[in-house]
């Protein structure tokens, strides 16, 4: 814990007795009292020194949230979440609280870093060890920022963008995922603490993969992250989110929102590797990851591509979607979801075809091992105006062992006769034959499994940027350790 129970109690008793809206003024405090109410929302907003419009937006979200119920349609099971039994604002942990050296870090975690081939300095940063000046991430970030500024790309924490680029934020925030969208997105709108903001100006091809140098900081970006990316006409950006190294977090519930906006001829490639703590082999602990990600292809010929490798979290609820509004716009969804032990994943996408000749591709690969459950849930909707629209969906499930489950739930709604929809689904099991064949050639059980599963996922992994792809391949093997033999 980043705070002692004692302090927390003190704060909550002070807050409870003396203040109604009062503690809002005392923004020197490092954490808000436990629980969620209007005051907390105001507190967060004040902490961030936000303009009135944003506070009002948060408050509307909060009010709406009170009227909503947690969705129950996903094929996941978890104990009831007590939303009052959580802290919604805590200042980032100071470095001094962290481990002093790698010797103090969980050796299990270090072994995984090693297998992933993560450099020592990066390992230290990931594990929260205070690092000396040799690798100064701040100066690296500054250098990159300068380079981005040269071409006019804005890339900064969203809390900064609210101050520095208020018109952009106000215009686009909530324009793809409205504050009233769904239970978790609404909660996020009320209490989000930070996230990334990115604007690519007209005609600019972003000169680097965004957030590569940022990913270490992102490990601490918190429970309710909010990302907003705007690709102006004719621009291009490749954005990387997450980290292959296992991320531990004391917050069990994560509810992020990501909004992408694409104008004419713009392209966004959004890649995620999600490796939050999945809980132990008996399913204890582990993160609940309830994410709303959506892209609006507003412009003609715009293209968005979601690529995700989901290996972590105890429960995953996530459907990165595309609203294909501009004529000829293109949406792609490439997904690998691996579940092991008692993990549960209900993930997929929504492709909403509005414009003419819009096209979408869905390639979803689910791998289940142990006693885990993996569900692909996807919606393809052709609106009446989607003349000549096309969708191709391929869902493949791979089972390892006989105690796990894989499910495919496609929803297809076609309201235009000229639209074409193709759906293919397969389920396969890793056979003893395959493992034996590989072992006869000198591979161990785990090497064999990793190679076969990577082969199964290749279509998706090859969509990842190079540097991510190599780590992701290793991650695939590591996530399945102990599932054979």
């Amino acid at each position: 814990m980043s705070y002692t129970t004692e302090t927390a109690d003190q704060v909550s008793s002070i807050a409870g007795e003396k203040y109604k809206y009062g503690f809002v003024t005392d923004i020197e405090m490092d954490l808000a009292p436990m629980g969620l109410n209007e005051d907390i929302v105001r507190f967060i907003s004040a902490k961030k020194d936000e303009p009135e419009w944003l506070l009002q937006w948060r408050l509307r979200a909060y009010e709406r949230w009170l009227t909503m119920e947690e969705p129950k349609w996903a094929k996941v099971q978890y104990p009831e979440i007590d939303f009052q039994d959580a802290y919604y604002y805590a200042a980032p942990k100071s470095k001094e609280d962290g481990p002093k050296s790698l010797d103090e870090v969980d050796p299990e975690l270090l072994r995984t870093y090693e297998k992933l081939g993560i450099p020592l300095l990066e390992q230290q940063m990931l594990a929260g060890v205070a690092v000396d000046a040799v690798f100064d991430s701040v100066s690296v970030a500054t250098t990159f920022r300068k380079e981005l500024a040269k071409v006019g790309v804005i890339f900064c924490p969203i809390s900064e963008a609210v101050k520095d680029y208020p018109e952009l934020v106000q215009k686009y925030l909530g324009s793809v995922v409205p504050y009233s969208d769904n239970f978790y997105a609404t909660l996020n709108s009320a209490v989000f603490t930070d996230g990334s903001f990115c604007y690519i100006p007209k005609g600019v091809r972003c000169p680097m993969e965004l957030s590569t140098y940022f990913r270490i900081n992102q490990a601490n970006s918190g429970q309710f992250e909010r990302t907003l990316i705007i690709a102006d006409e004719g621009s291009y950006v490749s954005y990387l989110e997450g980290c292959t190294a296992p991320q531990r977090d004391e917050n069990q519930l994560h509810a992020a929102v990501v909004e992408l906006i694409l104008l004419d001829d713009a392209e966004i490639k959004y890649s995620t590797v999600q490796n939050w703590y999945p809980g132990d082999a008996d399913g204890k602990g582990g993160i609940y990851n309830f994410v709303t990600k959506r892209a609006a292809c507003r412009g003609r010929n715009s293209k968005v591509s979601w690529t995700q490798v989901e290996t972590g979290s105890a429960v995953t609820w996530k459907y990165p979607s595309c609203i294909l509004q501009g004529d000829n716009s293109v949406g792609e969804f490439y997904s690998v979801a691996i579940t092991n032990n008692l993990q549960q994943a209900d993930t997929g996408t929504k492709m909403i075809h509005i414009g003419e000749n819009t096209s979408s591709t869905i390639i979803a690969k689910g791998i289940s091992a142990g006693r885990s459950q993996s569900t692909y849930r996807g919606l393809v909707r052709m609106q009446p105006g989607a003349k000549g629209a096309r969708n191709y969906t391929q869902c493949d499930s791979l089972l390892i062992g006989d105690k796990c489950g894989a499910h495919t739930v496609p929803y297809i709604e076609n309201r235009n006769r000229t639209a074409q929809i193709e759906h293919e689904a397969t389920t396969a099991k890793i056979s003893e034959d395959q493992l034996f064949y590989c072992r006869q050639r000198g591979l161990t059980d785990e090497e064999a499994l990793s190679m076969i599963v990577n082969g199964f996922c290749k279509q998706v992994l090859q969509e990842l940027p190079m540097e991510f792809a190599v780590e992701a391949q290793k991650l695939v093997g590591i996530s399945l350790e102990g599932s054979v033999g």
């Binding site: 590989c438 072992r439 006869q440 591979l443 190679m451 199964f456």
Partner: protein, 257 residues
């Protein structure tokens, strides 16, 4: 001199049924042996027992490989120790390109032997020499291992793997089945190229034709879970002529000397 392989009174079960019933076989270094025998006699079973496959349970007897007790080694350790099995039915690995598979396998074996692994360049160079000789196209190397390969391509792919991994002892289970005459020659050349004084080969086949190209030092008949007869190359011709009638299950075969 230690022999390459000494099998003594081997009994093995599959799914609770005894398949190998007291098999004896000795293979010296540098020798090529052929095993023939009726369907279901236990030829493939023998190859699986040699490679250590799960479910093939040895109930008694011994196998020593270059003086070492084979049963002490796991499947991949046997592979690293130089045992190679050319499969009767090669297995498909969708999405795993042959190149990736071969490189992973070769490096896994080198690693287990404590030797340096090959980098991509070194590996490709080595691979090229073999693919040329075996007439294997780049397209085949790019595709998933054995996925969509014709019967003959699968078998050539097995020989490619053998050539690359340079085993000390190779068992080729019906590598000739389903090959046209040209492919048969290519495969035989591949095998012959590997013949060496410190390398032994066991070919399992139904056709004496293969043995015109890969001339064996010894031919054995495996029937009813035992070596029923052993002889020279001419035994294959005789079998081709007379069939396995006299070794049919139930009749008492002639014990190997």
């Amino acid at each position: 001199m230690t022999n390459m392989l000494e099998i003594k009174d081997l009994h093995a079960e599959v799914g609770g049924t005894e398949i190998l019933k007291g098999l004896n076989l000795t293979i010296g270094e540098g020798e090529v042996h052929a095993i023939m025998g009726p369907n279901g006699a236990g030829k493939s079973t023998l190859s699986y027992v040699l490679s250590g496959r799960d479910g093939y349970e040895v109930t008694s007897g011994s196998i020593s490989y270059r003086g070492q007790d084979l049963f002490e080694l796991a499947i991949e350790e046997r592979a690293a120790a130089g045992i190679f099995l050319g499969f009767q039915y090669p297995v498909e690995l969708p999405g795993v390109s042959s190149t990736t598979f071969l490189k992973t396998a070769l490096n896994a074996i080198l690693r287990q032997r404590g030797e340096d692994e090959l980098d991509a360049m070194q590996f490709m160079k080595r691979l090229r020499t073999h693919t040329k000789a075996l007439n294997i196209s780049d397209d085949m190397l790019r595709r998933g291992v054995n996925v969509g390969f014709s019967g003959g391509e699968k078998k050539r792919n097995e020989i490619l793997q053998m050539a690359l991994l340079e085993p000390s002892f190779a068992v080729l289970d019906e590598t000739d089945s389903g090959l046209d005459i040209d492919a048969l020659k290519v495969v035989a050349e591949g095998v012959n190229a590997l013949r060496a004084p410190d390398r032994s080969i066991l070919v399992i086949t139904h056709y004496q034709r293969l043995l015109d190209y890969i001339v064996p030092d010894f031919v054995h008949v495996l029937a009813n879970g035992k070596i029923a007869r052993s002889g020279g190359k001419e035994l294959a011709l005789e079998l081709e002529e007379n069939g396995y009638g006299e070794y049919a299950s139930g009749t008492s075969g002639i014990e190997a000397a």
